[in-house]
Amino acid sequence: MEVGEAPDGRRVVVTGIGLINPLGIGREPFWGALTAGRVAIAPIERFDSDGLPVRVAAEVRDFRAADLVPRRLIAKSDRFAHHAMAAAELAFQDADLEMTSLDPFRVGISFGNNSGGWDICERGFEEYYRQGPSVVNAWQATAWFPTAPQGFVSIRYGIRGFSKSFAADRASGACGVLFGHRSIRWGHNDVVLTGGAEAPVTRLGMASHVTTGELSLCPDPARAYLPFDAARSGLVLGEGSTVLVLESLEHARGRGARIYAEVLAVEQRTGDPERPDAMESALRAALRTSGTRPEDVDVVFAEGCGTPAGDRSEAQALRRVFGNEAPCPPVTAPRAAYGHLFGASFATELACGLLAMRCGVIPGTAGTTSIAPECEIPLVREPAPAEVRRVVVNARSREGTNVALVAARWPNAI
C-alpha cells in the first residue's frame, strides 16, 4: 500500500459532468465549441469597462439560470451560485443520478471558489452608500461568501454528507477536487459533487483582480491569453462552473453507472511559485501514487497561467518529470479559449481530459502561436486526434501551491 492510500483502498471514479462555461452550457455544446477551436475571450459586454486597465474576459452568455435552477433560490443568490447550481443539475442529469435513490448523509460537496459573489457584493455596497447601511439587502450575508454555492446546492438537493469549500487562488478548484477525492477515499462519502464556481466578471471584480499582477492588460482578445507563448502577458479571467460527480467504484458499479474514468491520484506540494521544484514534486507524487510511468501519460492539461515566470517554471517542471526518460507527452492549456476559472478550473480541465478519452481528441491551446524558447514543450495548438488513456491535470496558485492529478480511462486500458 502506498503512503497516503486509504487502508480500505476505496477507488474513486467520475460518473457525471456538468458544465456552465463561456464556450457553452452543457457537456456537448462546450466540447463541440472547444474542439472546433472556438474562443470565448472577448471585449467585456456585461458592464462598461471604460477606465479599467483590463477590457477583455470570457463571459458566460446565453445562460438563463431559471432553465436549470428553481426561481426561489435564484433571487437569494449571486451569479456564481447560479452557475454552481446549474452545473450541479447538469452533472446529476449526466450521471443519471437522483438523490431519492441515495443516502443523503453519504453524498457530499467539495467545491472551490476564490472570490465570492461580486454582483451581490457591489449591490450591497451601492445600497449601503446610496441608501444607508440599515437598508442593505437581506441576502447579501449568505450570498457573497465563498461557501454560498455549497450551501445552496446542499439545500436544493438535500445533500447532508461531509461537504467543504476551498479558496487557494488559481488552485481553488484543484483543492476542491483533491479533498472531494479524499472524502470518498477516507470513507466520509460514497458520492461527491466536486468542482467549483466563479463569477468575478463585474466592474468591482475586475478592478480588484488586477492586483494579482497576473491579468493580461492586452486589449486584443485574440492576443490577451497566450500560454507558453513568447508574447504572453498574463491570464484572462473567465467565469462559470464545472461540477463532476465522483463516486466510489463500488457505489458506481452497484447502480450500473456509466463511468468516464478513474481518478488514480491527486497530490499537492507547495513551494516557490517561480521555481519548478514543488510542481515537479507534486507531479512525481501523483505518478508514483497512481503507479503511472511518465511514458504512460497521453496528455498533460497544464496550468498555463500565462505569466513569464509561471509558464517558464511549469515547462521546466514538465521537462524534468517527463523529458528525461521519454519524449514529453502532448501538453495543452484549453483555458486559453475560456479563460482562467480559478474555483471552476481544474474540474473543467479534468472534464476536458475525460472527454478527450471518450472522443479521441486533444483540445488545443487557442491563441499561442510561437512558443517561447524557455517554455519548450510539445504544446498542442490545434485540436488533435489522439488515443487518450491516461491524463495528468496540473494546477498552481500564485502563492506556489501545486496540485497534480492522474486519471485513467474506464475501463482501465493499461
Binding site: F105, F145, S165
Partner: protein
Amino acid sequence: MRRVVVTGVGIVVPSGIGAEQFWRNNTAGISYTRDEPSMVAMGLKSHVVARVDGFRVEDHLPADAVEEVSGLSRFVQFGVTAGTQAIEDAGLLGSDFDRERAGIICSSAIGGTPEFQDAYEMLSESGRVPVRALPEHSRFYDSVFLNFAPAWLARRYGLEGHCTSLTTGCTAGIDSLGLGFDLVRSGELDVAVTAAAEAPLSGIAYATLDVIGSLSRTDCPPERASRPFDARRGGFVLGEGSATLVLEELDAARRRGARVYGEVLACGSLNNAHHMTDLAADGASMAAVVSRCLREGGVGPDAIDYINAHGSSTPQNDIFETRAFKTVFGERARAIPISSTKSMIGHSLSSASLVAVVATLGAMRTGVVPPTINYEFPDPDCDLDYVPNRSRQWPVRTALVTASGFGGIHSCTVLGTVD
C-alpha cells in the same frame, strides 16, 4: 489509523494573545464585548462588538516578518501571528520534520472585508462614481483574498505539502482541524498546521448581519450583550480573532519530546440542507453530526465530560443545541457542564470554533471549565448546566466542541487527554 495530537497552540482574541493569557481570562469570566458607536450612527439595531484591543503585529513578529505583512489586512496579521505562535510553541523549527509531509489548512469566512470596504469607498467615492481600478502593484489581493496567510506560513516554515484555505463560514475553524486530523490520521501528512483567522469588524459586515437579525439587540449594558442560553439573549456579538493548532502523529510527537496538549479523537461535519441560516428547533441536524462523530471515533456518549458549545446567543441556536445534546446524551445531558466562550469574546465567525477548541484544551490541562457569563434569566427551553458565570473545578478527560454556520453546516470534534 494513526493517533493525532495537538503539539502547538497560538491564539489572538479579545481576551488574550497567547494561550496562557487566553486561558486565564477565559476562566476568569471577563467580558470583552463593548459599545460600538458607529453602529448607532449607521442606524442599526445592534451596537456591540468584541475587539482585540491594542493589537500591533510588530509586538509579536520579528522585524523581517513584520516588513512582509505590514500594510496587509488585520485578518492576515492575526493569522500570521497566531500561526507563528503555534509553530514556535510546537518547537517545529528545531525538529527534523519531512517538509513534504507537513502542510497547512487555514480558514476564514469573509477575509479582508473591512479593507475591501475601505477600497470600495475610495475607488467609488463612496458609491458616487463607477469604481476605478486599483493600481496593479497594490497589495489588495494579498490583503483581502483568503490564501495569503497560509501561503506565508508555508513559505516561512517550510510546510511543503498541502496549503489551502477553507471558507465554510462559522464552522471553518473546526473544519480545518477536521481536515488536518484526516491528513495526519490517514498517513498523508506527519504535521498539519490548522488555523482560522477573522477580522470582520466593518460597516458592511455590521449592516449585512444586522439586517437579518443575527446581531445582539438585547437591551442591556454592552458587556452583557452576549448571553448564550439566557432567556433574554437576542443575537450574537460580532468579534474577531485567530487560532492555530499544530497537529502531529502521537508517536512522532513523543519521539521528539513534544509537549502534547491533547488528542483529537474524532471530527465530523454534515449539512442540514434546510436553510442558509435558520435552524430547525428540534436540533436533529446537530444531534446527527455529534452521534456519527462519536460512533466513528469509537467514543461512547458516556465518556463526554465537558462540552464547549457553539452557544452563539441567538434565540434559535441555543435551543437547537440544547435539544441536540438532550437527544445525544439523554438524561446524562444534565450532568455535563456546557460553556460558551462567545459569552465573553463574541463570535469571530471561522475563528470562533477553533478558539473553542483551544479553550477546551485549556480546560483539559487545568481541570477548570470556563463559564458562560451573562447568564441571569433561565430559559425553560435551555435547561442544562451551562456553568453560569463562574468557572468550575472539573476534571475533563474527553470533551466535545460543536459549531454551526451559514450555509447550513454543523461540525464537531471530540478531544481527549493523553496519559
